[in-house]
């Protein structure tokens, strides 16, 4: 799967979980840059992402996700 494709899917997941249909994402953004993405919604986003891509993140994967770009890379890596 291409990075751009993963980004699009992540955008849909965040829009659904955070209830913000028009949300815009780019690779450099972190949770701090996305309104509503805080410690309370973080695991819901992680969980939805896992369900969608049929993958499982380890704790150290979650810790490494500093930006949306990191998240895309880890998802692609997990899918291989």
């Amino acid at each position: 799967m291409e990075r751009k494709e993963v980004l699009e899917i992540l955008r849909d997941i965040l829009a659904k979980v955070l209830k913000r249909p028009g949300i815009q994402l780019d690779y450099g953004m972190s949770a701090d840059d996305v309104e509503g993405w805080d410690s309370l919604t973080n695991m819901m986003i992680i969980s939805e992402t896992e369900k969608h891509f049929h993958i499982h993140f380890k704790m150290r994967d979650i810790i490494r996700m500093k930006t949306i770009g990191d998240m895309c890379d880890i998802i692609i890596q997990k899918q291989k």
């Binding site: 410690s39 309370l40 695991m43 819901m44 992680i46 969980s47 150290r60 979650i62």
Partner: protein, 457 residues
Amino acid sequence: MEFLSIPFAVCMTITFILYYLRRSRRWQHCILLAASAVFIGYYHLAYLIVAAGVTLFTFFAGKWIHKYPDTKKGTLILWTSIIALAGFWLIARYWSPLFPLGISFYTFQALSYLIEIFWEEEEPEDDFWDFALYMMLFMKFLSGPIERGRDMLPQLKTAKPFSYRQVTRGLKLVAWGVFLKLVIADRIAPSLNMVLDNVRIASGMQLLTATLLYPIQLYADFAGYTAMAIGFGRMAGFEFHPNFNRPFVSQSTGELWRRWHMTLSFWVRDYVFTPLDATLRRYGKKGLYISLLVTFIAIGVWHGAGWTFALYGLFQGIVIIYETLTKKARQRAKKRIGEKTWKLIMIIRTYLLFALSLLFFRVGKISDVFYVYRHLFDGFNDSIKELRLGMSDFYWIVFGIATVIMFILEYLNSRHSLINWTEHLKAPVRWILYAGIAVIIFLFGAFGVENFIYIQF
């Protein structure tokens, strides 16, 4: 050795003169380590031995964990180390006749250091003396701020040149801390102690007044300590994290915990809440709520043994879960009422809930806390004398004005740094201002009242 004592002032002065005598990293570290050893050992030699033991253990455990990245053996070493450190802390906290000061704070530093190495977010430190300073630096030893290795250790890699600006900036923070502690916290402390230590003989009006003012006493006490710790650190060229960010403007309990004792809140968020929430994520919102409750109960029992502290944490957890559940309804109410009025109502509501929850923290027995709840509004027929809580009108005025000054200065500082502002004043005006602050502290401060509240944790 207390911050506000002659031995500390003497020790601090000697330390700083020697510290800046030579611009050599080794020299400066020797001076700081010696000063930290004197500072800790002055209380009790056993405290120094325990702190040194925990430091040694953590240093070598970190190196060992690093050898086995992402393996079962690495996980086993990490968990053994966590159990050893937390177990030792538990024994010292609850079953030992001697509770080593600062242990709750440096144990948290040790745990975060090991977990970060395990997560491969941090490399283990090679220099034992730098690591010992990270753990035992006297300015932050007693009650934090709880620093992370990745923020603190790099600061120890260079010698610190003397900087007049840095030292005066530190001194200004120390002065602010002394003001908070002596003119606000210690001024009101005897009156609040009189009521909160004897709730069953206090009148309703006294209970209400003490309940409403205790958050201010606790805040001025701990924020005062933290300002001094950060100020002393800055005088030696170090930057510590702040612990408070105007907590009483919070519009929700969730926000309050992002502004109150921040280094503890963020520590618990990163090393308790997030891993727990990650483990329970398949249970969706239920998992989130369980994680929140466990996290806040953990914060509660970190403060002390007994059900009162657990209930203090549980209170916070329940309110935050309620806030999460009612987020939409509250948004609708905000639109209906108008943003400014809503903000004011929420600030007052958050403060009141916090004040009520702090009774679990302050009053010794659960039955006494509920006694206070039942009798809070009994006092409207009491005479105005009841309100004084044994303090003279003059000192009530001093306390009131000082508290208002605290809130105004914190507001102004949130917009533009007041320390920067003082640096742009002309020298005579600046020195008159400093002298004025010193006179205010000496005239209106309550000297020799009590030690910092958080020293017991």
